[in-house]
Amino acid sequence: CSEEDSDEEEEDDEAAVKEEIDSEEEEEEEGEEEDAGALRWKQDLQQKASAAFLRQQESAPNLRKLVYGSAAGAGDSDEEEGEELGGLFRVSRPQKSKRFTANSVDCSRFAADSAHNWDLEEMMNSIRDCFVTGKWEEGQDAA
């Protein structure tokens, strides 16, 4: 009985060490020698750093460019449309893309993101700390 226990403990330890390594370098393959993996995380550091940097660049869009940059394109008129019928009449169709936004309803309301389902516990938990009943930061107090 005692032998089994110790065995289990050893296994647990091993698993714990592996988990640590796994978390440190995510692309680590499973079932490796531990001592070899110990210094693995130091490899390709530069590459990883640049990858992380690029990832962050992509995820944080340049809002200034989005807001002020694209406005120039909106001024271009795409008036050109034309099948002529019998060389006389021009088919007039309400244009989908630009005309639609230019003449759509002038309303300041910001429609809610339909992807959020507020029945889910997970979603509710994402805003818990916005309330006084949530967790407080260090150095702040409910008083």
């Binding site: 200034r64 309400p94 300041s108 809610a112 507020w118 805003i127 916005c130 309330f131 006084v132 407080w136």
Partner: protein, 372 residues
């Protein structure tokens, strides 16, 4: 086109353009207003808006072509004073009030506007919402005192209308720059459940279902029921709910919903309305920031017109309306904001990404205001 000032296409963002034109004194020309639709030109509610603008200004020149597809506007001086206006029932009073809120602090004499029409509908921010969110926001910019008030005298639901509100606002020579970067935590939730020309029980049913959702977060919730009767209840039946969450630092998040107008669309149950409105409030909390999504543009305008000092405001995600407003501010005032995204920390449970808006005010001073 220098003689015509700024030129825009289409009737979207109509109010923004006219309001900014009035404040900056730049002429504006709007063409191709619904020029390709079967019913071209300006609608009644837009004409009504122009008339209101004409009432609060002195010496404005407005030219509209025969089909109503081209509008030329040369702004006059903002005069203010006592104004009465019958708003078109196509849009609610909120549509007109949003513009008046932006103009009122810069008038010659303080404004007292009596607006009649639809007080609550589902398209525009309602009068109740503007009262509980926009007015506290303006107070942060130094537009405060006894004079600023918005009172619902009569409630009128769409489509009939028949409501009446009184809006008063003092004038200011300059606007105070603000630093609103930390909203603080939400300490309480208040609300108004209103009903007119239906059973007063409707409001209670709304309150119960909204509380059921919100009580999972906070115990301090109080939703008033407001049942107006007789002459104060307007011409159409309806009910609705406005919820406001107040934070420790005095920021307000709001959400609202109202019943579908009589004879249009599927009827809604008050229970569903209460529950959905509560979820909308959670969505607004998730967006976060120091200013709620319907008042973003008001905050940005007051920042722009502030004294020549740095203003900072933390906002939730920018709404499409706000993004267009930023472009218009650049057109009229040559101010570009510094826009920084703030990502929440790993273990923080405070909703989505926030946006920090920074600008230096243009040092606008209200030359219309009389010296005493």
């Amino acid at each position: 086109m220098a003689s015509h000032g700024l030129v825009y296409d289409g009737c979207n963002f109509f109010r923004q353009r006219l309001v900014l034109s009035t404040l900056s004194g730049k002429r504006v020309k709007i063409k191709n207003v619904r020029s390709r639709e079967e019913d071209p030109g300006l609608r009644d509610f837009e004409a009504s808006f122009i008339r209101l603008l004409d009432k609060v200004t002195n010496g404005s020149r407005i030219e509209i072509n025969q089909t109503g597809t081209v509008l030329f506007y040369q702004p006059g001086l903002l005069y203010g004073g006592s104004v009465e206006h019958d708003c078109s029932t196509q849009r609610s009073i909120g549509y007109y009030l949003e513009a008046l809120l932006m103009l009122a602090p810069f008038m010659k004499t303080s404004l007292k506007a009596t607006l009649r029409g639809v007080t609550n509908d589902s398209t525009d921010p309602t009068v109740d919402l503007l009262k509980t969110t926009a007015l506290p926001l303006m107070k942060k910019f130094g537009i405060d005192g006894e004079g600023i008030d918005l009172k619902v005298v009569k409630r009128g639901m769409a489509p009939g209308g028949g409501g009446e509100v009184v809006f008063t606002c003092p004038v200011r020579r300059t606007i105070r720059p603000v630093q609103l970067t930390d909203p603080g935590k939400i300490k309480r939730i208040r609300g108004v459940a209103y009903s007119v020309r239906v059973s007063p029980q409707m409001a209670n049913r709304i309150v119960d279902s909204a509380r059921a959702v919100l009580n999972q977060f906070l115990p301090d919730i109080y939703i008033y029921t407001d049942h107006m009767k007789g002459a104060n209840s307007g011409k159409s039946p309806g009910f609705g709910l406005t919820l406001v969450a107040e934070t420790l630092n005095g920021s307000f998040f709001s959400a609202e919903m109202s019943s579908t107008p009589q004879g249009q669309g599927d009827p809604v149950l008050p229970e569903d309305l209460g529950r959905n409105c509560a979820k909308l409030l959670l969505e607004e909390v998730h967006r976060g920031g120091c200013v709620d999504s319907s008042n973003q543009s008001l905050a940005l305008l007051l920042m722009t017109l502030g004294q020549q000092d740095v203003s900072k405001v933390l906002l939730g995600p920018l709404s499409p309306y706000t993004i267009e407003f930023l472009r218009h501010i650049r057109d009229f005032f040559q101010i570009m904001f510094k826009i920084e995204v703030q990502k929440p920390l790993e273990d923080e449970r405070k909703g989505g990404d926030k946006v920090l808006m920074t600008c230096v005010g243009v040092g606008y001073s209200n030359l219309n205001k009389t010296l005493k």
